[in-house]
Symmetry: C2
Subunit: 276 residues, 2 copies
């Protein structure tokens, strides 16, 4: 059985497992414009923590800062459990690549919090929008010019699809869509981390103008456990993203991901650079 393309992208070889040092390789299948899709980078950060022998519990929070473009080829990840408490654990993670002189240059900084969770009272103050089921929403047809990673996902825009013409007519920044891996793969923390970054830059929608834009930092909170994610299987998630404040070269966008039953699995925020 061939390994899923996402698992290929996530593959990490332990250089020194006890020290949390791993080596990976960029994936052509998840290539974006000038580097890997940021979602896979976030997933790799998380994966290094999940593979670490000292891991306590499951992911609660993940912040990934995209410090520099990742070049095609090998990279190194270093995951450090800085502080381990009774029920929470705090990690720092860095990804680096070697420069021409063989020196490691950091391109990604990150922090991760993991925790043992126990059953408590719970509720949601962010109900899932009322939308037609995925079977009644047409998949997004990728233009031939689309970057590689987009074809790894089945996306079904309910509203706020990428504008067909860039005529400057935009009036809002909200998108709602069904999404899942194009090639079936059971949902897990790594793929949920990746999907949290799959909303195109809100500035394109808000202005109906395509300007250079790229995520600078993303933070994702995980509200589900591994069993709840596994139950999703290859079912669709409903994703919603909306812009907040756009000013002087940066804007932030907020996102949510629900399973088909309406359980909020992850909430995510990112700040994005844009030009002009």
């Amino acid at each position: 059985m061939t390994q899923h393309v996402f698992d290929q992208a996530l593959a990490l070889a332990p250089d020194d497992l006890a020290a949390g040092r791993f080596t990976g390789k960029t994936s052509a299948a998840y290539w974006n414009m000038v580097g890997p899709f940021g979602g896979t980078t976030a997933a790799l950060v998380l994966q290094s923590v999940l593979l670490h022998p000292a891991l306590l519990g499951a992911p609660i929070a993940l912040t990934v800062n995209y410090a520099a473009a990742i070049q095609t080829g090998p990279f190194e990840i270093h995951a450090v459990p800085v502080r381990t408490n009774r029920s929470t654990q705090h990690w720092t993670v860095q990804i680096s690549q070697r420069d021409a002189e063989g020196q490691p240059q950091v391109n990604t900084t990150a922090t991760v919090v993991t925790a043992l969770r126990r059953e408590t009272w719970g509720t949601s103050d962010l109900p899932m929008p009322d939308v037609p089921p995925p079977s009644q929403v047409a998949p997004y047809s990728l233009p031939s010019s689309a970057v590689a990673w987009l074809s790894q996902y089945d996306m079904r825009p309910v509203s706020g699809a990428v504008p067909g013409t860039w005529d400057g007519s935009g009036e809002h920044s909200e998108s709602v869509l069904w999404l899942r891996d194009a090639q079936p793969r059971p949902l897990d923390f790594a793929s949920l981390a990746s999907m949290s970054d799959m909303f195109y830059p809100r500035v394109w929608l808000r202005r109906t103008t395509r300007v250079p834009a790229g995520t600078v930092s993303i933070t994702t909170y995980f509200h589900a456990d591994a069993a709840q994610l596994a139950q999703v299987g290859n079912g669709h998630l409903l994703g919603r993203a909306v812009g907040q404040q756009f000013r002087n070269g940066f804007f932030d966008q907020s996102a949510q991901l629900w399973n088909e039953s309406g359980d909020l699995l992850a909430t995510s925020n990112q700040i994005v650079y844009f030009k002009e």
Copy 2:
């Protein structure tokens, strides 16, 4: 002229300025229940970056992870500019205290992004709620049992004040209030970082039940420049906070801070531990 109590709390002595190593001391004036108010900890992280001689630009994003309680007394901060680009800079910051054997133990991990901003198109998709001006809203009267840091702020709840009785009747998790330093002090990045954490745990409001709760990780995005903050002076900010997903010991809450003119200065998210 006596130094403002917040500046006293922020005071950092350079142990090795070029290496980004500073020493500080916890502030009794901003004490919370079992440690310093998390807002001052976030402000201290930011301050170490702002004092660093290699600083490029102004804060864009700040993530602070509260890894362990900070004890009364001295602490060390280490700020490292991991990657400096043409217009952005990526920082890692850690706060530590010495254990009984004199070994540094990390209690706070953090990342900061700073950037040179240039003028661009901009807009807001998060308008300020329509509320009465601060002069028409009564200041919150602190109960005599209130923790110390609360008295450092002038808070005027418009809605969603701390429940007066804990009767389990809660139906929502949104608070809106005017806020500023009790003792006048011009707004700056450090105080804005601190104010981003001043909303009490949403779980108390949602359940009208007081359970042990504490922030695990906070991420704040800065949408203003230093001049825009200075213009606020000691004017009030309008703060809004709302809970999102509550499940198995953790919930997240989202917050915004506007100036009186309705400019959105900062957006913030945090994930919070709660018991039961």
